[in-house]
């Protein structure tokens, strides 16, 4: 059903965990629909130096969370914003059609975390 890469990221998900006092946090999805992803970012000089996640969901949700965090790690904030559900899915060698919607979760969570980061920045700048 799933590609080997998906299974690898499901069995050994990278970047699981939390970051205390993160520079940006994003949470999307809801338990009603069966998947939630929460992303924690540590950003220095506009570069994502660390990223962690927690995900409630199926194997596809967990694997895309893992892959997406890998893809943005070490990237600039703008580069990270360019990571789409398509690029995550491709990096995983594809997903079954019924699971494609899961890959949107990671894209949205990252965007939300970066928004959160930017808002915090503005607050700091404003302060």
């Amino acid at each position: 059903m799933y590609s080997e890469k998906v299974m690898d990221h499901f069995i050994n998900p990278r970047n699981v965990g939390e970051i205390s006092e993160p520079d940006g946090v994003g949470e999307v999805g809801n338990a009603r629909c069966g998947d939630i992803m929460k992303v924690f970012l540590r950003i220095e000089d506009n570069v994502i130096v660390d990223v962690k996640f927690k995900t409630f969901g199926c194997a596809a949700a967990i694997a895309t969370s893992s892959m997406a965090t890998e893809l943005i790690k070490g990237k600039s904030v703008d580069e990270a914003l360019a990571v789409t559900n398509k690029s995550v899915t491709e990096a995983l060698d594809g997903l079954p059609p019924v699971k494609l919607h899961c890959s949107v979760l990671a894209e949205e969570a990252i965007q939300k975390a970066i928004e959160d980061f930017k808002e915090k920045q503005e607050t700091k700048v404003g302060a």
Binding site: I11, A31, R32, D35, I36, T55, F56, C58, A61
Partner: protein
């Protein structure tokens, strides 16, 4: 070889060797078409007749009340559609339950589009239909009540005999989807006042692609498949002789080993349930504590999602299911779990373990050793669990 443990007998079962042996001659030597009048055909016909007789006896039905179909699904579709079409002048109301298999539910929905009125009875938190409610919903235009004998997800066994008393008294047909019940529940269509009963061989160690519908003599119904004069003109299509022989052999075997198997299964199942509940927190048992299929354990694990549990178990060699196998392509949590009142969140975290005759106590041990780590690992990864630990919870 890697350890492989099969806890998904409600989805399908491996064929019994004895059943397969009984089938094989009808593929090769005795391959005739039972409708042919030459000796090849007559030998095949004899085999079909004997199989019909065996199947009838197990259900305490008459020889000419058994009709072979291509699946349990076909039997369900036929029963409901056929009775509806043939009795629409009498009335257009059908009563069923909210937790039926989709083969029943979707057939009912299709009939709703054709002008029928369908009542989907709710169930209590154990998944039980209330016979009194069946009684009070039956009106002058009710033609059919269709309530399953046992549920495929949560294993709850319905009070069909009580319902049968009511439908008989009210003069309404009673269909029961016994696909999950055959082999673990003693069925007597006379005693239980059942008018139509569906079954599917691959659920009781028989072959796939063969089912049967019991139709009480005198029941007014139309065919579903039109064509040749097979099955006394009621179900067209060249008879699947090996499948029919397999079904009959399997149902006889299942019936004669039933008490013994049930005892073994109940013991293993209860140890499994108790073991899980003891070792893991925040687990709910779905279905009725006693009125449940001997092999069925359905558990919901808070904070985590079913598929990731399934795949994690599969990687450890354990095959299980989350909700019905038939609905695994779907994204919604099981309609059955929602009908017994689970929240969507918890329904998503359900695991069905359905034991069968090939399972052993050692396999239960292995499962009980394996599952806690998996649940812990997934919970560690879950933001819901985080919140729970942090003092509040979504669920």
């Amino acid at each position: 070889m890697k350890k492989r443990i099969y806890f998904d007998h409600a989805a399908t079962t491996a064929i019994n060797r004895e059943v397969l042996e009984a089938m094989l001659p009808y593929y090769s030597q005795e391959f005739g078409n039972p409708s042919s009048i030459h000796s090849y055909g007559q030998q095949a016909k004899k085999a079909v007749d004997q199989a019909r007789d065996k199947t009838a006896k197990v259900l305490n039905a008459g020889f000419d009340e058994i009709f072979f179909t291509g699946s349990g699904t076909e039997a369900d579709n036929w029963a409901i559609h056929g009775v509806a079409m043939a009795n629409k002048k009498k009335g257009n109301h059908i009563i069923t339950s909210a937790i039926e298999h989709h083969a029943v539910l979707y057939t009912c929905q299709r009939l709703e589009k054709a002008g029928f009125r369908v009542t989907y009875l709710p169930v209590d938190r154990y998944g039980l239909v209330d016979p009194k409610q069946v009684e009070s919903e039956i009106g002058p235009d009710t033609i059919l009540v269709s309530i399953m004998l046992a549920n495929n997800e949560i294993g709850t066994i319905q009070p069909i005999k009580e319902i049968g008393k009511i439908t008989k008294e009210k003069g309404v047909y009673l269909h029961t989807d016994a696909v999950q019940g055959v082999g673990s529940i003693a069925i007597d269509v006379c005693d239980m006042n059942i008018d139509l009963l569906s079954l599917s061989a691959h659920k009781f160690y028989g072959p796939k692609g063969i089912g049967a519908l019991y139709i009480r003599k005198g029941t007014k119904m139309t065919p579903l498949l039109y064509g040749g004069a097979q099955e006394r003109n009621r179900r067209a299509g060249t008879e699947n002789t090996p499948g029919i022989v397999g079904l009959a052999t399997a149902i006889e075997l299942a019936r004669s080993n039933m008490e013994e198997n049930n005892q073994r299964l109940i013991k293993m199942r209860d140890r499994l349930i108790d073991g899980v509940m003891t070792k893991i927190d925040n687990v709910v048992l779905n279905g009725h504590p006693e009125l449940r299929l001997p092999g069925n354990a359905n558990l919901s694990f808070e904070f985590i999602e079913g598929e990731s549990m399934l795949l994690s178990l599969d990687l450890k060699g354990i095959a299980a299911s989350s909700g019905s196998a038939c609905t695994s392509g779907s994204l919604d949590p099981s309609h059955v779990l929602l009908a017994i009142g689970l929240s969507h969140e918890i329904a998503h975290g359900s695991l069905r373990l359905s034991l069968g005759i090939d399972n052993t106590e050692e396999e239960i041990d292995y499962f009980l050793d394996t599952l806690p780590e998996i649940v812990a690992r997934l919970r560690e990864m879950s933001p819901l669990f985080l919140q729970k630990k942090g003092g509040y919870s979504y669920v």
